[in-house]
Symmetry: C2
DNA sequence: ACAGTAATTGAAAATGGTTATCAATATCAA
DNA sequence: TTGATATTGATAACCATTTTCAATTACTGT
């Protein structure tokens, strides 16, 4: 007897079904991209994702990765942020909760944070200037504990 | 009788003297760029500044504007920020005080803000992750009051 | 004032991340 | 299965920014 209780769908499944639900076609390439993206963890650049996907899908084109990333982004399934290092990084958005980033300028490590207090102050500031907030971006740059102990690149 | 008390130097003078003090040469082009930058107000992109400078200095090259902007930036006399609209904007830094931005996605208007409370929380968050903060960036995107009343571009 | 030296300039080409083009191919609905 | 339409991969185009390089200019010491 097999008991198979599906507690919750994986990110990849959730994204895939969300895409097909929106009228987009399911393709082998998109499946690979989404699955690998979900498995790889957060904050990938298009190039990093391309390199990973190429292992599973050797013929994949650069443009397809970019297109899929934009598709996910426009569908609200992924979120893109431009960091100071010059290129755009993406992360699958889990359940709409917004978070911000602490970035180590030594090793590139990215940590997420979320702070309700800051959001509240932010709203108050916007209100003072009669702004309707649609979005925000808060990045803290610094050195992680291990990079504080290493010499910095010149 | 002429009473001419110089209360404080202009931004342009301050920047120019700071540059020559650092061993950089004073050139007509740099003077124009800095003077026009100081007079034009804040948050200019390289292209916008180039267009302005061209009126006073018709032969000016694109590269010179970029180079000067980078020079100012590296000397700490200007600050550059990459907004979501794709290109980098600069502002002359007045007295080292850091501030953040509220950007209207309708009309591009940029308002500055500064909030000590947020900075404190930020430090606490960084400390919790054992980070040494060197920098931060906080941008609030939204619609200014007048853009809230206009239809949005499709 | 003048020459020597090193920095700066303008024009144009190069760079690098990202997007558009287009013919071939794959997906989906009927 | 077939036809309409979306997607793909390769490549060219984009576009902000940077580099290159020869000509010019600013500063230093005389």
């Amino acid at each position: 007897m097999v008991i198979n209780i599906k507690l919750k769908s994986t990110s990849a499944e959730r994204v895939a079904s969300s895409l097909s639900g929106r009228g987009f076609k399911t393709t082998r390439q998109r499946d690979s991209i989404v699955r690998i993206f979900a498995a790889a963890g957060q904050h990938l650049s298009a190039e990093e994702l391309y390199e990973l996907v190429k292992k599973a899908e050797p013929g994949i084109g650069y443009a397809t990765v970019y297109r899929t990333l934009r598709l996910l982004s426009e569908s609200g399934l992924a979120h893109e942020s431009r960091f100071e290092d010059g290129f755009t990084r993406y992360e699958l958005s889990d359940s709409g909760s917004h978070h911000d980033h602490i970035i180590c300028t030594g090793c590139g490590q990215i940590i997420e944070f979320e702070n309700h207090e800051i959001e509240k102050i932010q709203q108050a500031i916007a209100r003072k200037h009669h702004f309707l907030v649609t979005n925000h971006k808060h990045e803290i740059y610094g050195l992680c504990s291990s990079c504080q102990r290493k010499p910095q690149k010149e």
